[in-house]
């Protein structure tokens, strides 16, 4: 917090004109609570859910927020669009994962690749990236990691490189759509951007970045690619069709998933929020799949949903007492009308910070700030594109270290349980290279698409 911004807080009024006190003690306390919670989340000294809920509780105690603001305010409360979109997608995933479609695809791909390691890696990464764009990254890697271990075991190569590559592919693929990565969900809701906005602005870049990643992977993971022709039979003898235990369930799931995607594409025209589309899809899938509640709720990560709620309340409290408004004004002043400089700062700053702390709390805190910047631009060319700079930086930055995104942590856990421990630096070595390359590619993309010709 700069002295200038603090001074602005004391003299100025709160940006949203509500009744919260912007007096110095409350502001200082709110900042202390926020920074404290952030330190706990980043260092994992306490569980992140406890840190976010504890922070939210303290914000209420010090008078920086209240029930009205926390539960019902669109600007400073829990963003229910985000919570219910996540819930809906988690339910859909719970059913889809039971179909065995991922196992089917992965083994089919390994057979098509005739047991050649790099071809297998490229195909598994493509499946992962596409699935991550449509579903949650964590679930995608949870489904792909075990079958990858199986395939690597059969063809006699060490799986660490394959697993790391899949995580990186998952974070790249997830960048492409509104529902692909939680930061995008938060940005979409707060910035009022549609599913198609994301597809049109991010997906073209992601396709290019992914192809570059595949080429890079050939070199990065070259030591994982020892080809054992004598082991090919072990992979060709597997029968991927047996992974589909219930073809009717698969058919119904794919139809509903298709309808949900269609709903997302049309959601602006239908005047339905993405969260409503996801919930309708989830409901329909529950009905047609005839699964039990324990089955369709299996993949619902309640701790994650609660973590989001705590986070929203904490960030909302900072908005309430005017901290975000003051920072926003400072940022607006610093940016002036040089939006390309702002986009550059956002892209690289977000990439670095998302590598160090979980990108979800980072984006949740940055969104109100960027919102102020974009609003100040008042439709100026390049102002809106700041959202894409934030999304690209935060999503791609998640690849940088072993703790940059949840998918990274999950896969490292599976690898360790299977006897292939991947250390923090082992992952980060590869993650840093891929992050650097993809973010450096994103920079000219932003420039030429949004700034060069305006």
């Amino acid at each position: 917090m700069t002295g200038l911004a603090a001074a602005a807080l004391v003299t100025g009024e709160t940006t949203n004109g509500n009744e919260f006190s912007a007096s110095t003690p409350v502001v200082v306390l709110a900042i202390a609570v926020f920074v404290g919670a952030y330190v706990f989340i980043a260092t994992e000294w306490v569980h992140r859910v406890a840190a976010a809920l504890g922070g939210a509780a303290l914000m209420v105690v010090i008078g920086a927020t209240d029930a009205e603001a926390a539960f019902f305010s669109e600007e400073t409360g829990v963003d229910w669009h985000v919570i219910f979109l996540l819930l809906g997608m988690m339910i859909i995933v719970s059913v889809v994962k039971q179909t065995g479609v991922f196992e089917y695809l992965a083994i089919w791909a390994a057979k098509k690749a005739k047991g050649r390691p790099y071809a297998i890696l490229a195909m598994l990464c493509t499946i992962t990236a596409v699935a991550s764009a449509l579903l949650d990254n964590v679930t995608t890697v949870l489904l792909v990691a075990p079958v990858t271990l199986l395939v690597c075991d059969r063809i006699g190569v060490r799986p660490e490189g394959f697993l790391i590559a899949e995580v990186l592919a998952s974070n790249i693929g997830g960048t492409a759509t509104l529902i692909g990565d939680p930061p995008n969900i938060i940005i979409a809701s707060r910035a009022d951007l549609s599913f198609n906005d994301f597809v049109l602005n991010l997906a073209p870049f992601v396709v290019v970045a992914f192809i570059v990643f595949l080429v890079l992977a050939r070199w990065l993971f070259r030591r994982s690619f020892t080809y054992h022709p004598e082991r090919v039979q072990a992979i060709m003898s597997m029968d991927e069709r047996r992974a589909i235990r219930d073809p009717a369930l698969l058919r119904r799931s794919l139809i509903v998933l298709g309808l949900v995607m269609l709903g997302f594409v049309l959601h602006s025209a239908l005047h339905l929020e993405p969260s409503i589309i996801a919930l309708l899809g989830a409901g329909l899938l529950v009905v047609v799949s005839r699964t039990s509640s324990s089955e369709y709720l299996e993949e619902v990560e309640w701790p994650t949903l609660v973590f989001f709620m705590g986070l929203f309340i904490m960030v909302g409290a900072l908005v309430n007492v005017g901290v975000i408004g003051a920072l926003g004004e400072a940022a607006i002043e610093a940016v002036g009308d040089d939006y390309f400089r702002a986009a550059t700062g956002l892209l690289f700053g977000s990439a670095v910070l998302s590598g160090i702390v979980d990108n979800i709390p980072y984006v949740a805190s940055m969104v109100p700030l960027v919102s102020d910047l974009v609003a100040a631009g008042d439709g100026a060319p390049g102002a809106d594109a700041l959202w894409w700079a934030l999304a690209l930086g935060a999503d791609l930055g998640g690849n940088a270290t072993a703790v940059g995104a949840s998918a990274n942590v999950v896969v490292i856990g599976i690898a360790a349980r299977s006897g292939y421990p991947i250390s923090f630096w082992h992952f980060t070595r590869y993650g840093l290279v891929v992050t650097a390359v993809t973010v450096l590619l994103a920079w000219p993309y932003l420039y030429f698409r949004y700034y060069a010709f305006s």
Binding site: V147, D153, M238
Partner: protein, 153 residues
């Protein structure tokens, strides 16, 4: 009838016994489980056959059951991949589940009655208990033997 009357001879395995040899013993002697003894020769834990299988299975199959279906008939050898190069100690449940006090061991007194033997078996989910007299294994009682003695003819 007392525990000592039911006790029968039974092979034991040590923590450093190769997992393959121990499994072979299970098969050749048609045992319901393995009696694992500690360094003092006292029974530490019973590894039921199902537990041995759990470790024989590749971890990824346990992580994702669907994968079990894709193996072909000729892949039976893959089933025991997990046993190769491991010892009995590595098949054991993690440390925290190992008995901390004597009462948690799969052990009964020679004077124990059938009800006591059954209680230990049920509580430990174990198909076998060892009969121990003054630090020496007298023999073991299998669930078959116990039920055989107890069921009405």
């Amino acid at each position: 009838m007392r525990a000592r009357d039911l006790a029968e001879q039974f092979p034991v395995v040590h923590l450093d016994t190769p997992a393959m040899d121990a499994s072979r013993l299970l098969v050749d002697r048609a045992l319901p489980g393995l009696v694992v003894v500690d360094r003092d020769g006292l029974p530490l834990v019973i590894l039921p056959g199902s537990q041995v299988l759990r470790f024989a299975l590749p971890e990824y199959v346990e992580e994702d059951r669907t994968l079990a279906a894709v193996y072909s008939e000729s892949d039976a050898d893959a089933l025991c991949e997990g046993l190769r190069g491991r010892t009995v100690e590595e098949l054991m449940p993690s440390r925290q589940f190992l008995p901390k006090k004597a009462a948690d061991r799969p052990i009964v007194d020679p004077d124990a009655n059938l009800m006591e033997v059954a209680a230990v078996m049920a509580e430990q989910h174990s198909p076998v208990v060892a009969v121990v007299d003054e630090g020496q294994i007298v023999g073991v009682i299998t669930v078959h033997r116990l039920l055989g003695a107890a069921l009405p003819r």
